[in-house]
Symmetry: C2
Amino acid sequence: MEDVSVGGTRERILRAAEVLFADRGYVGTRLHEIAHSVGVQKASLFHHFASKEDLYREVLKYGYYETKLTIQGALDGAAPPLQKVRSLVEAYVDMVVAHPERTKMLVRQSLGDAPPGPGADEAQRVLGLVVEFLSEWRLATGSPPVDVHAVIVGVIGMVAFFFTSAPVLAPDWFSDPLNVDNVERVKRHVTSVVHNCLAAGLEAPLRAPTTAGAEVAMA
Amino acid sequence: MEDVSVGGTRERILRAAEVLFADRGYVGTRLHEIAHSVGVQKASLFHHFASKEDLYREVLKYGYYETKLTIQGALDGAAPPLQKVRSLVEAYVDMVVAHPERTKMLVRQSLGDAPPGPGADEAQRVLGLVVEFLSEWRLATGSPPVDVHAVIVGVIGMVAFFFTSAPVLAPDWFSDPLNVDNVERVKRHVTSVVHNCLAAGLEAPLRAPTTAGAEVAMA
DNA sequence: GTCTATATAGGGATAGAC
DNA sequence: GTCTATCCCTATATAGAC
């Protein structure tokens, strides 16, 4: 998988397409706009990609690839499991913050926006990594029968919703998804939820640090 | 606000449009499909609605209206607050299950799918109802400084994601959003999360009934 | 109030010069 | 590898008969 972060017209197209696909959806995005955003003519796109659908799939593939890297990175290493859970949440949130478009695209994809393609399989494989980790750990520690899938899918939904939909739904409270305070607030909340779910039956249930700053006035 | 559940061509158009808009998004939905689904000719739609955009807004307006009714219904009455919280979650989940299309549409809307219109204001007003209820209750009970907005927005995101995206993301675990077991599982999980968040500092932290049936094998 | 027929526009994709 | 010009199709919307 090639690095998309530097030069090359092909790469610049991919990056521009990601933003636009995320913002307007597959059908809502016009090739004209992508081309304009890159600074080339529409016809030039067809030299690099066979079709709009092909371009979309390439963008999506790269998104899944990096997501998988992020998750695996947090899962590898020898840290104690409970610490890993925290790293996982942090890494995931950081990735969402760093690439909001990508997350928006994945949400759209899961709404059934575009040609299914190979995307679904890839997503399930990434999900499987986390499920496996949590399941094994849960069995090892003998924590009560938590619905591991529910925890994970719930977290993905929560985080995605915070950064993609909350600015529209609750602009007075969460106007800027890139704001550092907002990011910290989400991390704290999500970590707290996960810990409560997983440690629900343990001796000393972990709580996320409940800072007073978490309090926010009504709009 | 007229009742949409019975006869009338206009009403049948609204219902068909809701399903299609939810499934394919605003741009992805063709007026031809809506007409075909109702069993009339495309041109007839323009007798009932001024434009595609007008039709979309009408559908959306009705969705917000019923959502508001649901929330208010759960909030009214004299039940003890902690019980109300549970009713709120149940009522919300039930509504999502009863009208998956509506929820999908609202998620799409919050992704920025369509002409903003009056929708955003309406959504914020509904959200405000819940924020107010939880905030007042939290102050009264003196529970620790929870981020009320985070809890609510998180729950909305979780539930929406379970029923709209999970079937695509984790089909082996959550293939059928209408399955009774799945619905119960979601309710249990969400209620548990909310209780843990709100009762985090109370004397006897409430836990949702953790049935053994919640456990699910890896796919 | 619903139909058939048509106007008008825009989007994806191709041809072929440079 | 990028451009201009163009083909072809589909989508929204309108006109006007019944």
